[in-house]
Subunit: 392 residues, 2 copies
């Protein structure tokens, strides 16, 4: 186990009807805020009316910025920064999924740091101050509700890049599982895949003695899989299944599952190019990338195969006694692919109309900052090989 620091200050307010507490919580931080959302489903469902009523009752004024899209855009972030500065706003409140929250975080950085906001995403600058950010979460997926991450897409390129700053961790996040009943199945599935990927990125580490976090990761994955199966077997409005998924999505990315270890994160990098070039949902891209990344690594050496065999046994119920390690590991990947397909996710390029001719270009882009991944450091040729596996 390696030395670590762990601190997560986000206050989670979880459960039925909790969106009605947003005004009271917000008023502890600000009197004038930017209210940031897509302008779509949260308006139609009546959620925005409840949020605004709660803010009004608490005496909080807001300026609204709508138009957040999946793979949130830099242009909207820049608009938000201008509004926040000109209107002297004190906080950014996102209502929506990871895209709205990530966009809010980027605005929060830009509002109090001079210069081009994209410089932070290009790793030219780092930030230690931002406006407070908070969220009413509607899509369990990105874990942005209590994380230090924000991923933004620069349309010129397009480039999809992330930042990780302590100062953008939300001060509070409101999680009401009832709000997720009306999510389209595809979005529910993308979210489930995304949170599983967050855990798997942490699970696949070369650090040998991290038993507690291994156990916690495996338990969280089993819980997600079991409850995903419930939801996709028709229990769309099952509160408890939705609640397990929603809370797991936050824990997947709140930092506790990487204590004492270094995660991998190559699959996220490989997907970023996929979802940037083809505007594919992040979760769908991960469902395509992860099986290929696993198969590529299982072949690497015996220690890797053992790690994947444990994953197969503990998460997918593969009985290791009847297989050699490599076979058990591959059987685990096969069961994972079957699961992803069962919830409507693509698992190959063709399933998502991705043109394999762009593999060389994507592989070049993925190593823009150098090798990616820690479980195994991937160079351009590894990226090509993994993309090819994902296209077959």
């Amino acid at each position: 186990m390696i030395n670590f620091e762990y601190c997560n200050k986000t206050k989670i307010i979880f459960g039925k009807g909790t969106e009605n507490q947003v005004g009271k919580e917000t008023a502890q931080y600000a009197k004038r805020i930017l209210l940031h959302h897509s302008g779509g489903s949260a308006v139609r469902s009546g959620l925005m009316d409840r949020v605004k009523a709660s803010l009004k009752e608490a005496g909080v004024e807001w300026v609204e910025l709508t138009g957040v899209l999946p793979n949130p855009r830099l242009s909207l972030v820049k608009e938000g920064i201008n509004i926040a500065r000109n209107e002297k706003l004190e906080m950014i409140l996102a209502v929506g999924g990871g895209s709205a929250i990530d966009s809010a975080k980027a605005i929060a950085v830009g509002a109090v740091n001079d210069g081009d906001i994209w410089d932070f995403f290009e790793r030219k600058k780092t930030a230690d101050k931002a406006l407070p950010v908070a969220a009413v979460l509607t899509i369990p997926a990105a874990g942005s509700e209590s994380s230090i991450s924000s991923v933004i897409t620069n349309e010129e390129g397009p480039w999809k890049r992330g930042i990780n700053f302590q100062c953008i961790r939300p001060v509070f996040s409101i999680l009401n599982p009832e709000l997720t009943y009306t999510l389209p199945p595809y979005q529910t599935a993308c979210g489930i895949t995304d949170m599983m990927a967050h855990i798997m990125e942490r699970y696949f580490t070369k650090e040998p003695n991290v038993e507690l976090t291994d156990e916690l990761c495996e338990g969280a994955l089993r819980t997600i899989i079991r409850n995903a199966r419930k939801i996709f077997s028709g229990a769309t409005n099952n509160y408890d299944a939705r609640a397990e998924i929603m809370w797991a999505g936050a824990i997947a990315h709140n930092g506790i599952l990487d204590t004492g270890r270094i995660g991998d994160w190559a699959s996220h990098a490989l997907d970023h190019e996929l979802s940037a070039l083809f505007d594919l949902a992040h979760g769908a891209g991960l469902a395509i990338i992860f099986p290929a990344w696993m198969k590529y690594n299982i072949k690497e050496d015996n220690a890797s195969a053992a790690r994947f065999a444990r994953f197969a046994a503990k998460v997918w119920g593969v009985d290791g006694a009847f297989y050699d390690k490599e076979q058990a590991a591959l059987e685990g990947v096969s069961r994972m692919e079957h699961f992803f397909k069962s919830i409507g996710m693509p698992v190959r390029f063709a399933d998502a109309n991705i043109n394999p001719e762009r593999i060389p270009e994507m592989a070049k882009r993925v190593v823009h900052f150098g090798t990616v991944g820690n479980f195994r450091k991937l160079e351009e040729r590894d990226a090509v090989a993994i993309y090819k596996m994902a296209s077959n």
Copy 2:
């Protein structure tokens, strides 16, 4: 799953040599502090020298208050409060185990709230402000390093009572597993039992749909048991085993394992009378109480038996297929008792020289504030029955 709020602001600094960061971290909060410890092993081991050197280097001044004992005493708390007030100290830094930290928390409350500190423990008053508290942990056990709890013994009585206030959660805690190598086996075992009890108090809930936290609890318990066996099989100075135990002890009590559920806590109440009257270590008392409490509940109804059967299967590897629920549940308790004995814990009154003649007195004291427990609300007669089971 019931609605909940979760927020834990303690910064955990974990790993080798981390005690040398104490000055830098402390200086962010205070320039003059109360340094609170037992004056025993931390001095002999050289830890206090390192702590003081670090404080000095960071320009932090301290007043020292030593003499903390297991089951920390109210009289010392009062002494600490007087010192903190007279010397205008700004923070309390505990070096030690749960006793030192609990004592520090009580001092932190008394330093800034007028009146008799014991009134808070008698539930006559509540506190929303305290001096900042921080810790360098030497005994993984109580979880006080990131909890909102403090348990103090009033020698007149004696009464052992607890408080739970957000304002006493440590601002930071330093956890170096190397510091635990020299713990006597009995203290290591008491700590292991205590942290297991913290998880079990949360695990035994009547809330039916809390799958994620069930999985996390079970994984943490398995990790503790496996690594305790390593340490008690001679791997006393195994860093990774000590690290798993130390981190599990913090997670056991940091609040994440009770999200969405109401824990029981009757066994803690039953032990408080035992350890107050017989000055028994808290962990040892819990090793005696928990098996009896379980056996008493398994008989209650089928739903209870099912919960204990799951515990037997997931934590103790009892194969439910070969048993009926009650049998499986009892087999789990039996394996737990065997485990406690294997690490040197008492599991019956006689093992710890506890006089069963005082059962009626203890049972009366345990319901001082009303029934105890939530999994099953225990009255005086239930307490008598459980104490009797623990004495046979």
